[in-house]
Symmetry: C2
Subunit: 532 residues, 2 copies
C-alpha cells in the first residue's frame, strides 16, 4: 500500500508515533494536487485518542533523557535532521509542490529555509546564551543577613504540541520553526500534521525520526499524528503531559486551542499565530514621487503565492488625492495582468471566494486579477473604501486569506493616524515614506509599535527573514502572546523557563552555571555580563 514519488521515496500513509509507523483509524484523508485538480495517493487516516495518549506518553517518558542532553548533542541532532531532509530533497520538493500547488522555486527556497532554521537553532545552542545564566555570588559577611549563592539557568517546559500550517508545508510544518525551537530548547515534540500535505509531512517526519534514532535519543522525542483540530487537536492540547503549544493557522482554530489550554486543570502557554491584515501606510511624498511604482510593487507582494501568507498586505492606507489615484490605477492595471494561481486546497479557495464576496458588498471594487478556471484558482481582488466606513466596520478588518486587499482612503494624515489607532494587533505594519515624509512617519511610528510585531519601511511585509532580530508575532489577535516570536532564533525562549539554584553544592550544579564557566558562556554575574 505504498505510493512512489519521483521513483525514489515511498509513502506508507502512516503516522509516526515514537518511531513506529501507525495507521490511523478515523477519517480518510488524501492530499489534493491543485495544479492537476486531482487527489493524491496514498490515503492517510486521522488518529484517535489512543494515538494522542501513546504519543504523549512516549514524549513524557523521553523528556528526562532528552532534556539531559548537552547543547552540543541537541545541536548535532538538529544538524542531522537538516541533513536528512536534504537527503530526500528531490522527492520532498516534488511531493510538496504536488500537494500545495506552490511553484517549485518557492518550495525549493522553503526547503532551504527549513534546513537553515534547524541549523540556526543548532548555532543558538552552541552559542549558549539561551541558558540565561545568571550568578549572584554569596556575600557571607553581609549584615544583617548574609547573601546565599544564587544562580539561574533556563530549562525546557516539557513536551510541546506543534500544529502545522497549510501554507508553508515545510517551514511552518513538521520540522518547521516551532518544532526546531522546541527541540532546541530540550522539549520532545508531538506534531499534528496538516491534512493539506500529509505526504510531505510523512517524508519530513521520517527524516526527523531517523535523526532521533541515529542520535541515540529516546524514540518519544518526536511523533507525527494526523487528525482534526476540534477532535485530536483538542485532545492533544488538553493532555496533561503537554506543557506548551505552538500553532500557526486561523483565528478560530487558534482561539479554540487557547481556550482549551486555559481551561485545563493546569493551564499552559499557547503560542498561536492567527490573523493579520498587515496594513501598509503610504505617505504623501512617497505617493507623489512614485505612486505608480508602489502600486505595481504592492500587487507583486499581494499576488505572490496566491496571497497565502500571514504577512500578505491586506490593507493600504493613504490620503486621498491624485497620488493615491495613480497608485490605485497602477495597482488595478498590474492586477489585471496577473494570472490566476492555484490556492493550497479547494476549501481554502472557497473560503477566499466567500471572503471576497463579503468585501464586494461592503467596499468598492478597484480591480481584479485574471479569473482562473480550476477549482482552486485565486481570483485576486482589490477594493477601496473611506476611512470612516473602515473604522466603523468589523467586517472590513477581517482577514481574507489570499490575494485580496483593501485601500483605505483618508481625508488627511490625522485620519491615517486614526486608522493606525483603530486597527487590531498585527504581525506587521509597513510605511512607505520619502525624505519629505519623515516628520509624519515619526508621528506614525509610536502608534504602529503598539499594533505590530514588525515595522518595516520601504518594502513589503511578505518576506520574513529568519535571523536574530526578527519578530514574527504581535499584539492580539495577530498572536495569542505578543511576548514572543515564531520566526528567528529568539523563538527558543518560548519553550523555556527560569530556575534558581541557591547554595546548590558545586558537584550538582548544571554546567551552564558551574564555577569556572566550563562552557565559556556569556553570564550575568552580579548584574554584569561577562564570559569569565
Amino acid at each position: 500500500m505504498t505510493a512512489t514519488i519521483s521513483g525514489a521515496t515511498s509513502l506508507t500513509g502512516q503516522m509516526l508515533i515514537a518511531g513506529a509507523p501507525v495507521r490511523g483509524t478515523g477519517k480518510e484523508v488524501r492530499a489534493f494536487d491543485p495544479a492537476a485538480g486531482q487527489p493524491l495517493e496514498p490515503v492517510y487516516q486521522h488518529g484517535d485518542n489512543t494515538h494522542v495518549d501513546a504519543a504523549c506518553a512516549a514524549a513524557a517518558d523521553a523528556f528526562a533523557q532528552y532534556r539531559a542532553t548537552t547543547s552540543e548533542q541537541r545541536a548535532a541532532f538538529l544538524d542531522t535532521i537538516a541533513t536528512n531532509i536534504e537527503a530526500v530533497g528531490e522527492a520532498l520538493i516534488a511531493r510538496a509542490v504536488a500537494e500545495s500547488g506552490l511553484p517549485q522555486a518557492r518550495i525549493t527556497g522553503e526547503l532551504g529555509r527549513t534546513t537553515g532554521q534547524l541549523r540556526l537553532f543548532a548555532s543558538v545552542l552552541r552559542e549558549g546564551s539561551w541558558n540565561g545564566a545568571r550568578i549572584d555570588t554569596a556575600l557571607p559577611d553581609r549584615t544583617p543577613l548574609p547573601r546565599p549563592d544564587l544562580r539561574q539557568r533556563h530549562i525546557p517546559l516539557g513536551p510541546v504540541a506543534v500544529f502545522s500550517a497549510s501554507n508553508f508545508p515545510l517551514a511552518f510544518s513538521v520540522a518547521g520553526g516551532d518544532t526546531a525551537s522546541a527541540l532546541a530548547a530540550g522539549c520532545p515534540v508531538v506534531v499534528k500534521g496538516h491534512d493539506a500535505h500529509p505526504g510531505t509531512s510523512e517524508l519530513v517526519a521520517r527524516a526527523v525520526t531517523d535523526a532521533v534514532t541515529t542520535s541515540g535519543l529516546p524514540a518519544g522525542t518526536f511523533s507525527l499524528l494526523f487528525g482534526s483540530g476540534p477532535g485530536l487537536g483538542i485532545a492533544l492540547v488538553t493532555d496533561p503531559r503537554i506543557k506548551a503549544v505552538g500553532f500557526t493557522g486561523s483565528r478560530s482554530g487558534g482561539m479554540a486551542l487557547v481556550s482549551a489550554a486555559a481551561a485545563r486543570p493546569e493551564p499552559i502557554p499557547v503560542y498561536a499565530e492567527m490573523s493579520s491584515i498587515n496594513p501598509v501606510f503610504v505617505l504623501d511624498g512617497a505617493l507623489k514621487t512614485r505612486g505608480a511604482e508602489l502600486g505595481r510593487a504592492f500587487v507583486a507582494s499581494l499576488t505572490m503565492g496566491s496571497g497565502q501568507f500571514c504577512t500578505n498586505p491586506g490593507l493600504v492606507i493613504a490620503v486621498d488625492g491624485p497620488g493615491l489615484d495613480t497608485f490605485a490605477a497602477a495597482a488595478r492595471d498590474a492586477l489585471a495582468g496577473s494570472p490566476a494561481t492555484p490556492m493550497l486546497t479547494p476549501t481554502i479557495a472557497r473560503s477566499y471566494a466567500s471572503g471576497v464576496e463579503a468585501l464586494s458588498g461592503a467596499a468598492q471594487l478597484v480591480g481584479r486579477g485574471a479569473p482562473g478556471t480550476s477549482e482552486t484558482a485565486c481570483h485576486a481582488a482589490l477594493f477601496s473604501t473611506d476611512a470612516q466606513t473602515f473604522l466603523a466596520s468589523e467586517a472590513l478588518q477581517a482577514e481574507v486569506f489570499g490575494s485580496s486587499s483593501l485601500i483605505v482612503r483618508c481625508a488627511d494624515f490625522e485620519q491615517m493616524r486614526a486608522v493606525a489607532e483603530g486597527i487590531e494587533g498585527q504581525l506587521t505594519a509597513t510605511v512607505h515614506a520619502d525624505d519629505s515624509d519623515l516628520d509624519d512617519a515619526g508621528r506614525l511610528l509610536p502608534l504602529l509599535e503598539l499594533k505590530a510585531g514588525r515595522i518595516l519601511f520601504g518594502g513589503w511585509p511578505t518576506g520574513v527573514e529568519v535571523c536574530h532580530a526578527m519578530v514574527h508575532g504581535g499584539p492580539f489577535p495577530a498572536t495569542s502572546d505578543s511576548r514572543s516570536t515564531s520566526v528567528g532564533s529568539q523563538a527558543i525562549e518560548r519553550y523555556l523557563r527560569p530556575v534558581c539554584y541557591q547554595d546548590v553544592p558545586a558537584p550538582l550544579l548544571p554546567s551552564a552555571i558551574a564555577e569556572g564557566n566550563p562552557e565559556k558562556l556569556w553570564r550575568r554575574v552580579d548584574g554584569r555580563l561577562t564570559q569569565d
Copy 2:
C-alpha cells in the same frame, strides 16, 4: 477627617486617582491592629466602576508620554519614589506595624527591601540590557535575495494592574516589586490596594504620586484604588486599557483574575503568584548527623512572621526511622516553646484555624505551639502522615497560610522521589543533604527542577533575596506563568514585548538600536553580544 500617625503624617482615607485624592463610594473598610485587637482610623471606602474607568483612562492617556521617557528619566523617578518613601519612613513603619501586627524590625527591614527594589530597577534601567537590543545588519549583496536591516528592541505592554498582597504591606504592595518592575518597563500602574493595610497604602501612594509630579510625568502614570477582588478587581482586569496584571495572593483569587483575563475579547497576560507548600526534603545523612538541629531550624522558619510567607515550609519529606524521629521530636519541642504571634487579620486567622482543623482530621498531630488569647493569634501546628496517604490526598497538599506544616514519612528514598514527582508546582523546593547524600540529592534535583522555581540546599525557603538570579515563581499552581519571576531584576521582562524594525530610517530609530550605539548597550549584533 484625618487621622494622625506618630503625630507626623495625616491620613485622609482616600484613594489616589492620577494624583487626585478621591473618596470611595462603597463598602467601608478599616484596618485592624492585631496587636491591640482594635480597628484603626480613618475609614476607607471601596471604589466603584467609575473609579476604575477614571484610573484606566488616565493610565492610557499617560502611556504614550510615559513610555517615551528615557531609561535615565525612569531610573531617576524610581529613585525619587524610594527617597520619598524613606522621608515618611517613621510614620510608615508605625502604621504598617499597627496594620499588620508584624514586628517593627521586620517592617523596618521590609521598608529597606522595598526601596532597595526600586533602586535595583533604577540600576537595571541604567544598565540597559532590558532593551533586548538585537541588530542583524543588511546584506544588500546576498543572493538570491538581499537581507534588509533588522533591529529589535523591547517596549512596554501598556497600563498594568497590580494587586497588593496582605502579607508584605510594603514589598509586595503599592510600591512593591510588581509596581517597581512595571514602572521600570514604562507601564503606567493602577494598584488595587489591600484592605488589610489601607493606611500604609495611602502613605506609599502619596510618595509615588509626589514623585510623579516632581519628575514631570503625566498624572495617570500611577493610581491607587480600593475595592473587592470580585467587584472592582475584575472590573480592573477586564478594562480594555489594562494590558497586563500582577497579583500576589490566594489560589482562588488568582485564578479568578486569570479566568477573567483569558475571557476578555483581547486576552492579556496575568502573573499570579498563588499557592505553594514549599517541600523540604531531608536526606538520610543530614538527618543522622543533625536531625535535632534541623528540627529546631525548621520551626524557626515555620513560625517566622506567623508563617505568613508564600515560601513557608509547609511540607517535610524524609525516610522514616530514628533520624526522622529525632527531627520530629526536636521540632515538637521547639514548637511547644514558640509563642503565639498575631496574624495579619482576623479573617486570615480564622482561615488558618480551619485549615489546621482540616489537617487534624487527615493527619497525625506531632505538636503545637503555645496557644494565644487574641482573635488573630496563630497557634502553630505540625502534623505527620505517611507518603502513601499523602500522595492519595488532595487535601493534604492544599496550602494552609500560616505556621502549619506536615511531615511526610517515606518508606525509602524511592518513595521520596515519588513524593517529589507527585506534588504540584511550587515556588521553592529545599534539600538538606550531607556529603554522603550527594548521590541521592543528584537524583532528586532533576525532579525538583520540574516542580519549583527555586531549589535551595541547606537553608530554609523563607528568605527571598532580591537580586538578578532570583526566581520567585514556578510551575502552576505556584504561579499562573512559570516563565517569569515576581522578585528580582528579571521581573522587568514580564511587562515587555519585542518589536522588530526593518529598514527603518536612521533618524527614526530608537536610541537603543541606533547606529553607533549611543547608549553603549550590550547588543546582539549578527548573533554576537557586543558593546560596540
